[in-house]
Every structure is written in C-alpha cells, then in structure tokens.
C-alpha cells in the first residue's frame, strides 16, 4: 500500500450496544496503537470520548450533531485537517482511522461521504464497517428500530456484545442477523475484548498482506440462508456468461436511478467480456459507486460474475431480469451492427 493511503473503518451499532467499550479495548492493543479515532457523540454532553484512552493529538470528538444527517461536511473537514496535521508532523503518524458513529447514525451516508469528498480522495481507502449488537436487548432493538437494522445490514462484520450478561446468543437473534446480513461474519467480544486483527480487516484490502481478499469480502457462499420476505434482504446474483462493460454500466445506472435509496450496499466481482483474464471488483452504497478495481488475476477457478446485494425491498428477480434484459438488448444491438 502506498505510504500515505490510510484505511478508514467505521464502528457502528445502536445506542448502548458496546461500541465504545470495544473501541477502548482495541486501542490498548499494540496492533492499533497508531490509530486516529473520531467519535461522533450526539447529545448535549458527550461521554464516550472520556471512556476511550487514545493519543490526544489524534483523537477527535464530533459532537455538533449526528454524522449521518447533520455534519457530513464536518466529517470531511475533520478528516482533511487530520491528514494535514499528520503530513505536517503535528500529530502521531497514525496508519489507520476508526470512526465510531453515534448510536442513531445511518452508516450509508457516512460511507458516501468517505467515497465522494474531494478533499480526502486518494488519501483514504475503506477498511470496512463493523456493527456491534447487544445480545441482551439486540433482538428487541432490531425489531423496533429501523436504523439498527440498517447498521447491521451494511456491516462487513458483526460483533456480539454483552454475552457475559446474556449467556450464549439466542438463536432467534442469530437468525435475525442472518436474515439482515447473511454475508457478514458474526464475532463475539468478551467484555469488550476482541482481536483487532479479526475486526478491522473487514474491507476488501488487507493491509497486512497487501492483498485483496475478494472471496472473504463477498462471502457469497453465505447468502443462501437469507429470508426473502424480510424488509432488508441480502442476495447474490450470479452470472456465468461474461458481462459487457456497456451492459454493466447501464445496469448499475438503472439500479441507482430506480432504487438508489434502497440499494444499501452492493459488492461484486465481475467477469467483463472485454477483460476475461482480469476481473474487476465493484462496490456501491445507494447511488454512489466506486470505479471498478481491476484484479491482476482471478482469485479462484470460479470465473462467474457474483454480485452481492443488500437491499431494502428490492426484489431479487427484478435485479436478475433487469440484467438479463439489458444484456440481451446490448447483444441485440451489437449483432445488428
């Protein structure tokens, strides 16, 4: 990884689900000693920052509002300032940033800010989204609070907390987590303790190995358990035939145009007809997409395109038929020429 490209991870989870406790333990681990922390507290008197011991010069508390709706520009500005201070040697030379969101934050707009702000472009790479779920009250929270469902749905990893109080997680809670996000591995924290290496290598890029772990990132084999009558659904669309670049562009544009707000997250590996030996990885959050990242080679013998969708009530069949129809039309036009 280039020296100045820094992974940025998001730690999310509903109010009281144990985010700050986990972060406090993580920052004591040697693997995360060079971490800048941004805590977003939403309220008159923020306390979370008092509970986390971190180097003061790379620790920032954002308390002017909720990150997802009020202070997205503040977040971008804060990150820009942090990077400038690092470049100027005015703070610790951190090599990772963790944002702890407020318990009421929707992580999708935060991801979009990280993806689209010009002031931080080229300096940061997404390190993944981690969501905490309280095993004592989590099932009820997930039933009542839409935002907690969304936090779980967009996560790359889920961490169960407060197992010391609840005992083993209830099967009903585990089923609900699978319904919301079958792709994300479910880990457990022991009184807030969890290995940082398990947690923050949740993104596509593995900074330790300086490699792309596509199969783990997609976790495509875990989607068969998703319940399809749920509000939030996870499914994978698999296509054996290569997909033309024009087809994929039209497909993604149409998805965004018609269902952008409900397209919580999309991740995939694509066999482009124009590039059979070098697949591309795609990623989107609502209507914001990363440019495809081209891999040097296929990560396995499976050369099918696999696109994982996490959506709110976007039917899988519509997505499949849309891709099929656009592909057929593009093919039809090509033949006619």
């Amino acid at each position: 990884m280039p020296a100045d490209v820094i992974p940025i991870s998001i730690l999310t989870g509903f109010l009281g689900s144990g985010k700050t406790t986990i972060l406090g333990h993580l920052l004591r681990q040697s693997g995360l000693s060079r971490t800048a922390v941004i805590i977003n507290e939403f309220g008159e008197v923020g306390l979370d920052h008092e509970l986390v011991e971190a180097s003061e010069d790379s620790f920032i508390q954002l308390k002017t509002g909720c990150l997802c709706c009020k202070i997205r520009t503040d977040l971008a500005q804060t990150l820009q300032d942090l990077l400038q201070r690092r470049d100027a040697g005015k703070c610790s030379a951190f090599d990772r940033i963790v944002i702890e969101t407020s318990g009421l934050a929707d992580p999708a707009p935060i991801l979009q800010t990280l993806m689209t702000d010009t002031s931080i472009a080229g300096r940061l790479v997404l390190g993944g989204v981690v969501a905490t779920v309280d095993t004592v009250t989590g099932a009820g929270t997930l039933q009542r609070e839409d935002i907690s469902q969304k936090q779980v749905a967009v996560a790359d990893k889920i961490v169960l907390t407060k197992l010391d109080l609840s005992g083993p997680a209830q099967p009903a809670l585990l089923r609900r987590l699978t319904e919301l996000n079958a792709a994300a591995p479910v880990l457990s924290a022991d009184r807030g303790k969890i290995d940082s290496q398990c947690l923050f290598n949740a993104g596509l890029y593995d900074p330790r190995g300086r490699s792309l772990d596509v199969n783990s990132w997609l976790a495509q084999d875990r989607h068969s358990h998703a319940r399809h009558d749920a509000d939030i659904q996870t499914y994978a669309v698999v296509r054996k035939q290569p997909i033309g670049a024009v087809t994929l562009t039209l497909f993604l544009e149409t998805l965004a145009e018609h269902c952008g707000a409900d397209l919580l997250r999309l991740k995939g590996i694509v066999n482009f007809a124009e590039s059979p030996d070098r697949p591309a990885v795609i990623h989107g959050v609502q209507h914001v997409f990363h440019a495809p990242a081209w891999l040097k080679r296929w990560p396995s013998d499976d050369r099918s395109s696999r696109i994982v969708f996490i959506t709110r009530r976007v039917p899988q069949r519509w997505v499949e038929v849309l891709l099929e129809a656009i592909s057929a039309e593009v093919g039809d036009v090509s033949v006619a020429r």
């Binding site: 990884m1 702000d117 596509l204 890029y205 993604l252 145009e257 018609h258 519509w318 849309l322 057929a328």
Partner: protein, 100 residues
C-alpha cells in the same frame, strides 16, 4: 424490427412494478404488445418498427413516444405510473476502493 424477446420485457415490467411498489397489471395483448394498466394510465409497449435510433414505442393514454432502449422504456413507464418518482443519478466515488 428488433428480435429482442418481448417475453423478457414483459417479465421485466411485472418485476419493475413490484420493485417500485406501484400497483398495476401487466399483460400481453393479442397483437403481441405489452399492456400496463395502473395509476389511471393505459400504457402500451411495442417493439418499434425498423429504426436506426429507436427500439421501442411507448404509448401512454394514446400519446406515442419512442424510446431508445429498454432503460428508456423503464423511465417512461415509471414516470407515468409513479408521479412522485425522482430519479437518482449515479455518482462515482472519488476515493479508491483499493489503493492504486
């Protein structure tokens, strides 16, 4: 005339109404067109006669409009059936998914 499979378009319309959460009925007419009734609109979709530019003809309450692609057909149908519809436009992220 296009050899594009009209059955596929018909299924796409059925699924699109479900995806948009719009009430309506989709059927095939005897002459092969796709007919959609919903939101007090009558919509008819035909493959366009040979035309180097336009592949589809969309008739909404008797008014004919040509459509360049199936994507354009979807947009016209959505606008007719869903007056509150505001299209999102794709934005391309500036930050990298992986380091360059």
């Amino acid at each position: 005339m296009s050899k594009f499979p009209v059955d596929l378009t018909c299924e796409l319309m059925v699924q699109s109404l479900a995806a948009w959460r719009v009430a309506g009925a989709v059927a095939r007419s005897r002459d092969g067109a796709i007919v959609i009734c919903g939101a007090r609109k009558d919509i008819r979709i035909d493959p366009a006669p040979s035309d180097p530019m336009f592949r589809w003809m969309v008739t909404i309450d008797g008014r004919k409009r040509r459509a360049i692609s199936i994507v354009a057909v979807l947009r016209q149908v959505r606008e007719a059936l869903d007056p509150g519809y505001a299209a999102n436009r794709v934005r391309v992220a500036l930050t990298a998914l992986v380091p360059y």
